[in-house]
């Protein structure tokens, strides 16, 4: 198809032709086109369907405010719904499809809704679909959901990469129109660090759309020369294709740079878009203004456009929407469009101006004091009906109608910190108010400076003020300085189905109904009618609705209020906001020192927070994980096993007050712990609830090594720093995390000492006498490598934990395996670790669940009353010390075949099973190879006194009821003889 609607001139590169497809039909375009301009050039006006009534829709604007021409861009896993044709930069091979229509754009079955529109008035659904109650989910809602929605997702993973970055500047200039360019020139020449961002791919803003001159030369010459000067400045960064989406606290702006959307395919490793966090000392909003429409009957037909958009398409994109065009305006700007189109050879059917006193024009007809009262044409405009000043009607034959209701300053970012714009009578529009985001100022049309001269001057002036630059303004080009005043004209009297929000199908009638039913505040209006809730965020519709509501309420517009704008300025791809943190990179992965060795051993890994830990080490022939885990447990208890426990938090606590400090941190005493000894410690939160537990080894008078659980390492460190800096600032204590510095392995089992003796250097006596239970020391291994040794046991066996610098952890593990062969050493993972600690009755994360006290955990007596420690006071509250408080207990099935389920609840042996009779719950459960039975730990009301009691364990969720016996939590070696062996 040929580009019948191409005009002369413009900023497109006719030397190259790009081919693209819309709804599977091929068309030609040129570099510099947008999808919308290319479609218009090819004579395509129908581009979409509206949300509710599925009315035919054509392009309304030439920018990011577009409500109508939204399409599905690209295909396959790159399909991008709801993309504005007006902002899609043309590339060769572009594919787009219209959306929200079936079976086709020209014939859309759901257009039937339009016939019944009278029954689908605003908020109708709140009043019906209530009977029968059950029908909502089954019938009505699915119906509504299917009809609703716009574009569709590919349902496949987005294959593209996204980046995020940070940039810093003295002045961020938002918008590269006349005021933005003048500001950049001023600040740039003064040597300030400047970022100039514009959402368009061509800098220049409105100057690209106008025919008037700067210094008596075409405006684009000045733009080109200015951009050239700016890009030569090392202190100025030009960011085209970059939308500043939000003004956040303290001068931080979010900006999305579309680095790849204009390319057919992305170079490898390059992102599709980048989210920039711009840290600005000052910011200047030069976002220009948006033309507003006038509402009249059937003003939504394809071909009805904003007059300024027609002008942009003609002047910048060398395109007209039709060969015969009419203009409907209430201000002089509309006439400018007529003149430009006429000069490009487009036939002007007439200019319809609501003002009675407008000069006639000799090139084309001007109908003063007239209004457009209706339009005709099935899938696009063919006629407009005009009511003339004398009341008579006249029909104009035209394929496009340019509508101009005046201009609204783009104040959006000024509202992002809840600032309210103020009403300007001369412009009959909202302009930025006084309460702007700190550091932000506004210039140009965004600040109500509608003339080009005003824009240039105010931009330069604003830069000078923002940066407190001395001296005069740079020489700015001579430009038009037409006085702009706008008299409000929102809708043609008597219209009803006159569209305000063209995407959501909100008409003047709907606003009237909203008022009639008492939804009169702006917020109620928006919510009740969905006005301004569409993907264009009401950029072209909110004002009209507000004005009509004001009129109905007999109030002024400012009295009626304004809806405040929130980020983002235009919608942002969720992928962009996520950046690289997705898939495996969602969170950093922490690997243990023995990870690579474990991988060679074919370990199965499990996520523990950000850590990857070996869960078990399957051997060939083992079919089920239980086989591996049972073996690891049996072998460890029978001989010796090794487990990487590096993930436990380690904190070096040093200083002359270190012992005293630990006394405050732990609820039990530490002051008297001897050097060379380790002690178990329980940490409470200030509210008296158990926070974390671990051991603290005293390496020297003034040096402790504290361990925390893997999960709480960070939290505990923070807490310790809080206590150190905020509560006891004069204590001589220094803290530093050494979690990653040391590879730490548990060596457990009756032969653990024998194994260690083979690697610990001979000068260190680790016999039971020389190195008894709970001893700790700095030693050397394997011929002089510094190491730390602790005789502590989580498994209940004779056990040690040995630590060496992390880089040697891999080698040490291999050495232990090799030296341990004679003992049939076994590596064990987190599952076996868990089984053994349950067998031993050690509390862990499932028991320290943030609601349990020392009393619940069976350590009530540990809470020293003789000293001040965090949480000791509030732990005394009666609610935490009731007679039937939960106590930790062991649970065994009466029939050893039966399974214990963590999360099951305990009920009396007989009687009802319900919440009122709930006695407790299971926190941890496992199969115990040592007892050859399932076992569990849990909390039971007054459990301390209920050993031997038979109860029912119920899990209705998993459909299980088991008869169980309450036993001691210490299933294995309750006297602790093994670990002292």
């Amino acid at each position: 198809m040929t580009q019948d609607n191409r005009l002369s001139g413009g900023q497109i590169d006719r030397t190259k032709t790009l081919n693209f497809k819309f709804d599977n039909r091929s068309y030609a375009a040129h570099p510099g086109d947008t999808l919308a301009s290319a479609l218009l050039a090819n004579g395509v006006r129908l581009m979409g369907r509206s949300f509710k009534y599925h009315r035919p829709r054509g392009v309304l604007t030439a920018g990011s405010e577009e409500p109508n021409a939204i399409v599905e861009l690209r295909s396959g896993d790159r399909q991008e719904p709801n993309t504005r044709a007006t902002t899609i930069e043309m590339f060769d091979g572009l594919e787009a499809r219209s959306q929200n229509r079936w079976p086709s754009l020209k014939f859309d079955a759901l257009a039937i809704n339009d016939r019944f529109s009278n029954f689908l008035s605003a908020g109708f659904y709140y009043k019906t679909f209530m009977w029968p109650a059950a029908f909502w989910e089954k019938l009505y809602e699915p119906m509504i959901r299917r009809a609703a929605g716009l574009g569709s997702l590919s349902m496949q993973e987005d294959p593209d990469e996204y980046d995020k970055g940070f940039r810093h500047c003295d002045l961020l200039i938002i918008g590269a129109g006349p005021s933005g360019l003048a500001a950049a020139l001023t600040a740039g020449r003064a040597g300030s660090d400047v970022i100039l961002a514009d959402e368009d791919f061509a800098l220049g803003g409105r100057l690209n759309s106008e025919t008037f001159t700067l210094n008596d030369r075409p405006a684009d010459e000045w733009v080109a020369q200015t951009v050239a000067e700016l890009s030569a400045m090392p202190n100025v960064r030009l960011m085209p294709r970059t939308t500043v989406i939000g003004a956040f606290d303290h001068g931080i702006y979010g900006a999305v740079e579309r680095t790849g959307d204009h390319l057919a395919t992305l170079p490898s490793g390059k992102p599709r878009q980048i989210l920039w966090r711009i840290y600005s000392q000052r910011a200047l909003l030069c976002a220009g203004a948006t033309e507003r429409p006038i509402a009249f009957e059937n003003n939504d037909r394809p071909g009805v456009m904003l007059a300024s958009a027609l002008r942009t398409y003609a002047n910048r994109f060398a395109t007209t929407a039709a060969q015969r065009v009419a203009i409907f305006t209430n201000n002089d700007d509309g006439h400018r469009t007529a003149a430009d189109l006429h000069n490009k050879g487009v036939k002007i059917a007439a200019v319809v101006d609501v003002r009675p006193d407008v000069p006639i024009n000799y090139d084309y007809e001007v109908l003063a004091g007239a209004q457009v009262v209706d339009t005709k044409g099935r899938l696009g405009l063919s006629f407009v009906e005009v009511k003339l000043a004398d009341g008579s009607k006249r029909t104009l034959d035209c394929g496009a109608l340019g509508v101009s209701g005046g201009w609204n300053p783009n104040v959006h970012l000024t509202c992002h910190q809840r600032g309210r714009p103020i009403w300007n009578e001369d412009l009959a529009a909202f302009v930025p108010g006084a309460d702007l985001p700190p550091g932000l100022t506004v210039a140009g049309a965004a600040n109500g400076m509608m003339s080009t001269h005003g824009a240039l001057q105010s931009g330069a002036q604003a830069a000078v003020e923002a940066l407190e630059l001395g001296g005069a303004l740079p020489d700015l080009p001579k430009a038009e300085d037409a006085q702009v005043s706008q008299t409000p004209y929102w809708y043609v009297p008597g219209c009803a189905r006159a569209w305000l929000d063209q995407q959501n199908d909100v008409t003047v009638k709907d606003v009237k109904l909203s008022h009639q039913e008492g939804f009169r505040s702006v917020e109620h209006l928006k919510r009740y009618t969905t006005l301004g809730m569409a993907t264009d965020q009401g950029k072209t519709s909110n004002m009209g609705g507000l004005a009509i509501m004001a009129e109905l309420a007999g109030k002024s517009i400012p009295e009626t209020g304004t809806t405040i704008f929130r980020p983002p300025y235009t919608p942002v791809s969720i992928g962009t906001l996520a950046g690289r943190m997705k898939g495996q990179e969602f969170h950093p992965t922490r690997l243990t020192p023995s990870h690579y060795w474990a991988k060679e051993r074919g370990a199965v890994f499990v996520e523990v927070g950000n850590w990857l830990r070996a869960q078990w080490f399957p051997l060939p022939g083992e079919m089920h994980w239980r086989e591996s885990v049972d073996r690891e447990v049996r072998q460890t208890r029978a001989s010796v096993g090794v487990c990487d426990c590096t993930t436990l938090g380690k904190i070096d606590v040093q200083g002359t007050d270190a012992a005293d400090f630990l006394n405050r941190i732990y609820c039990n005493g530490f002051a008297k712990l001897a050097v060379g000894k380790t002690r178990y410690g329980l940490m409470l939160r200030e509210d008296g609830i158990a926070m974390d537990d671990g051991t603290a080894g005293r390496m020297a008078e003034d040096h402790f090594v504290v361990t925390t659980t893997t999960a709480n390492a960070v939290k505990v460190y923070q807490h310790m720093e809080f206590v150190r800096q905020c509560l006891f600032p004069d204590m001589d204590v220094q803290l530093i995390s050494t979690t990653e510095a040391w590879a730490q392995y548990a060596v457990a089992g009756p032969n653990s000492r024998k194994l260690l003796q083979k690697i610990v250097d001979p000068e260190f006596d680790i016999s039971n006498q020389g190195f008894p239970f709970m001893a700790c020391a700095n030693i050397t291994v394997c011929g002089g490598l510094r190491a730390r040794l602790f005789r502590i046991s989580f498994s209940g066996e004779l056990a040690f934990e040995i630590a060496v610098p992390s880089r040697y952890g891999d080698a040490l593990m291999r050495r232990l395996m090799q030296e341990g062969e004679e003992f049939n050493v076994v590596p064990y993972g987190t599952e076996a670790l868990g089984v053994m600690r349950i067998e031993k009755g050690h509390a862990a994360g499932n028991e320290l669940n943030g609601t349990t006290t020392a009393l619940n955990l069976g350590m009530g007596r540990m809470v020293s009353k003789k000293k001040d420690s965090i949480g000791s006071t509030l732990s005394e509250r009666e609610g935490l010390n009731e007679a039937d408080a939960l106590n930790m207990v062991g649970v065994k099935p009466v029939n050893s075949e039966d399974k214990i389920t963590a999360g099951a609840h305990l009920m009396d042996a007989s009687g009802p099973v319900d919440a009122a009779h709930d006695q407790g719950y299971i926190t941890s459960a496992a199969f115990s190879p040592s007892l050859d039975s399932h076992i569990g730990l849990g909390f039971l009301k007054n459990g301390g006194d209920r050993q031997g009691e038979k109860m029912r364990l119920v899990s209705p969720l998993t459909d299980l009821t088991v008869e169980v016996e309450i036993v001691s939590a210490h299933f294995v070696d309750p006297e602790g003889e093994r670990l002292r062996a």
């Binding site: 790159r78 719904p81 029954f119 008035s121 109708f124 659904y125 709140y126 019906t128 209530m130 809602e141 959901r145 609703a148 929605g149 716009l150 574009g151 569709s152 997702l153 496949q156 993973e157 987005d158 996204y162 931080i252 979010g254 989210l275 992002h416 039913e517 505040s521 993907t535 980020p567 983002p568 919608p571 791809s573 969720i574 992928g575 906001l577 996520a578 943190m581 997705k582 898939g583 969602f586 992965t589 499990v606 996520e607 509210d687 008296g688 609830i689 499932n846 943030g850 509250r877 009666e878 609610g879 935490l880 099951a904 609840h905 099973v913 319900d914 919440a915 709930d918 719950y921 299971i922």
Partner: protein, 416 residues
Amino acid sequence: MRYSGFKVIQQALTGHKGWKPAWRDLELKPHYDIVIIGGGGHGLATAHYLAKIYGHHKVAVIEKGWIGGGNVGRNTTIIRSNYLLDGNEPFYEFSLKLWEGLEQDVNYNAMVSQRGIINLIHTDAQRDAFTRRGNAMILNGADAELLDADQVRREYPFLNFNDARFPIKGGLAQRRGGTVRHDAVAWGYARSADSFGVDIIQNCEVTGFRIEDGTCLGVETSKGFIGAGKVGCAVAGNSGRLMGMAGMRLPIESHVLQAFVSEGLKPVLPGVITFGAGHFYVSQSDKGGLVFGGDLDGYNSYAQRGNLPVVEDVCEGGMALMPMIGRARLLRMWGGIMDMSMDGSPIIDRTGIDGLYFNGGWCYGGFKATPASGYCFAHLLARDEPHPTATAYRFDRFRTGHMIDEKGMGNQPNLH
């Protein structure tokens, strides 16, 4: 006027001339039996149940702005009763049952949609905890279902089952959970309360309480003094400020929670999903927008707006869970004020001042609680004793050590 399909057709044929305002526009009376401060979901629901269940008609709801303009108008519309603790579960299950009959009760279609909610499981410890919770739900008469990974996959094949950093190992489902058209809840309760003669007064801001020897006699407002037999406060987000006027310090911090809506999309999400390994939960509205949210910004704020780091954090969670939404666009974001209590659970209780009652501290769980909160607050106001399902929501539970701490985070509100 009763709403019905028939009414809609009849009005359509007569040019919609007959629709009346959903609630009357009224002048204040000098005195009411009960004045409810706060024209949000909870306040309006309280008025509805006071009138309909407890027969109190001399009731006013006063609202400093427009009704429904607070958190009931800005939330992620989720309803559920998947709580763990005895102090909570019966209350939230009561609320869910009230949701199930809401439309017929108030004759307004709030689009209560029991499309189901799934809390995803990523670790064995999480499965244990969710098993305990699911059992607690069932023991309290609610519904719960434990799903394995394959069952989740069958319902949500597009979740990240391929290269997830934290693989999905299952989920805890509550089929009766779902979503509700949030604005309609406020409007429906308002219209119903109005029909029972309750006065709804908008743009009427409380400036103080009139308290004489330990008794509250009424409230000073921007429209003058209003005498009241009893005053009930339900001003989510402003509890601290309001009760401060009565000289009270609360176990509450006000924080900002952001929420997000995407552009309209054809249906992809049948129900509600909560990501168990990141801060992200999502559903899809009937209009097609993905409605999603995550964690608090984390700092005290009354600004009703948040900052980028949390926006990014939430979207990272979204992409980690559903890599297919990369090209869907975030359309709107907003921040609401959450009255975060010290144990993450609410307060519905008398105050130390006779005639002054408090309802607040809903954290970010207030919306789903709206019907039960209104019902129980009405019960407390009418009978001067707590409703059986809300006996634990007392001010003094922190003093006595009877906290209701679902998450086990202790006295740090921004962690709940």
